[in-house]
Symmetry: C2
Subunit: 322 residues, 2 copies
């Protein structure tokens, strides 16, 4: 079992040191509240690990780690408004605890705070960090827009879906790692391989997320198992089912989504998934990306023992049951 | 009469060259639309003038000029949501033409685009630009929050009001000019004096805005004269009136705001303003800031003829009737 506490302690202590101004209270109190909700801090951990991989003191990547974590939290605050989500990590979202205007504006200022942490770097490192971060930030916004567009779209292809989850989620993992690598001063080949590792791992992780939402053990799963099915969410599983089903099965699937409710709906859709071998096909796709990720990591030219934490983290992420 | 067309042509051509991606259309089409609504482009003009002041080719400041203009437009798109404004420059706002989620997200990506233009600079110039820009961006958010807070606040002091308009509006003018100065490579004393010039000119401009809203010639004024009075907006005029009124006048003023409507309300409030000499007091306050601005400009150590465009611009801004 990988011990992430060493990284988490650094991040936790850095976040605890962020001292938002007292006023305007309606702008900054929501940020103190939201950052205290916690989370796995996976992105800042990746930034630290990406730096350490190249044998550089991970403290050098602290501000980059904070930048990605603050950016991630900015995107969550705004996404929660757009999704009208009442809860985040079991607690009230900013727009439901305060109001929507406060959530818009405190999200905005949090994005600026992310850039403040980037601006602590100098010279070519600063410039490279900014270029990578800007590209990634735009992609995260594009991914969120596609996600919203696809909710009402009639036809979404698997390729479109993979691109959407890449942009919405996976690119920020790649970016976090590569920022660590930039700070460590490694060469472009290593940097790009590390980015690809994060990107592919992120896609695999998101596909696993789709799978767990249907097949997780409810006792270990934080959300309602089957929630995606109940919400007609266009996950990899549903899109693949529509792709592989014959005309009559397609009709049954569409009718189940439209007319059924509750556990009956979940059971009906799962029956079609089983009939079409969707769990195995999803696992296969997930493993495809996971294997590419491991290949990316193995290609990076550093002593193998320095890669151990990232291999361990990959394994840990892909073996979760919740 | 100052000829701004030389600067406006550069800005216009730069903005026309921004090529947003075709997709996701719902993310980028609103930005193309919103930037085409125009506006005076005062902030990017200031960035160009701030550079030219120190005898440097103003083209060097083009990207900084774009950064402040894109940031300004980001803040307008989000402010329009918060203020629930249906129109901007006579056209539908982004959230009313598309929807609120699209306005949030396209605003977000526009802020990132602003940082992309900053990231074209290098070394210490990049770092200085970022630090100034980040500080300013936070202040603009804080100013907007105070503005919203003050809508429902019972007591707002003149000092609080001046700080609010400074943050919401004036700091970005100072920032635009100083960014030009940073790019021109002048010394810190000149930079700071130029920033202060923009800040104080911005405050004077905003006070003039408050004054014009009540006393402009309706034939030359773009908005409804008296609109601030009808909306019970806490402008400098209203706050000063409450500050200077005796108890019985205060009661009359409060009753007029609460109970009267339309032209009757405007007439009643204007009568109290006249009685308390509010127009002259506002003009005096405005001139106070304008004089400091001119003083700031005169202290900058460059040949006087190089300052001519900024003196002319100041005069132009403070003589508007609309």
């Amino acid at each position: 079992m990988i011990d992430l506490s060493r990284y988490q302690n650094i991040i936790g202590s850095e976040i605890a040191q962020i001292n938002f101004p007292k006023a305007p209270q309606n702008l900054y109190a929501p940020l103190t509240y939201f950052l205290a909700l916690g989370g796995k801090r996976m992105r800042p951990i990746l930034a630290l690990m990406g730096c350490e991989l190249f044998d550089k003191d991970l403290n050098a990547a602290k501000h980059a780690a904070l930048a990605v974590e603050l950016f991630h939290n900015f995107s969550l605050i705004h996404d929660d408004i757009m999704d009208d989500a009442p809860l985040r990590r079991g607690k009230a979202t900013v727009h439901s605890k305060w109001d929507q205007n406060i959530a818009i504006l405190s999200g905005d200022v949090l994005m600026v705070k992310a850039y403040e942490h980037l601006a602590t770097y100098d010279g070519q490192v600063l410039k490279s960090l900014l270029q990578l971060f800007n590209t990634t930030a735009k992609q995260v916004c594009e991914g969120q827009q596609w996600d919203m567009d696809y909710e009402s779209a009639t036809a979404v292809t698997i390729d479109q879906y993979i691109k959407m989850i890449s942009y919405k989620t996976a690119v920020l993992l790649g970016c976090s790692l590569e920022m660590g690598a930039i700070i460590a001063g490694t060469n472009t080949t290593n940097r790009k391989a590390l980015y690809e590792f994060g990107l592919n791992l992120g896609i695999a992780f998101q596909l696993q997320d789709d799978l767990l939402d249907v097949y997780a053990d409810q006792n270990k799963f934080g959300k309602q198992v089957g929630g995606d099915i109940l919400a007609n969410k266009k996950t990899f599983l549903l899109l693949k089912a529509f792709e592989d089903a014959d005309a009559s099965t397609k009709t049954v699937l569409q009718n189940s989504l439209t007319n059924l409710k509750g556990s009956e709906k979940i059971t009906a859709v799962k029956a079609i998934y089983a009939q079409l071998d969707i769990p195995a096909k999803t696992t296969e796709k997930m493993n495809e990306y996971y294997e590419i990720a491991l290949q990316n990591l193995s290609e990076i030219k550093v002593p193998k023992n320095q890669k151990a934490p990232l291999f361990a983290l990959s394994e840990f992420l892909m073996q979760r049951e919740h």
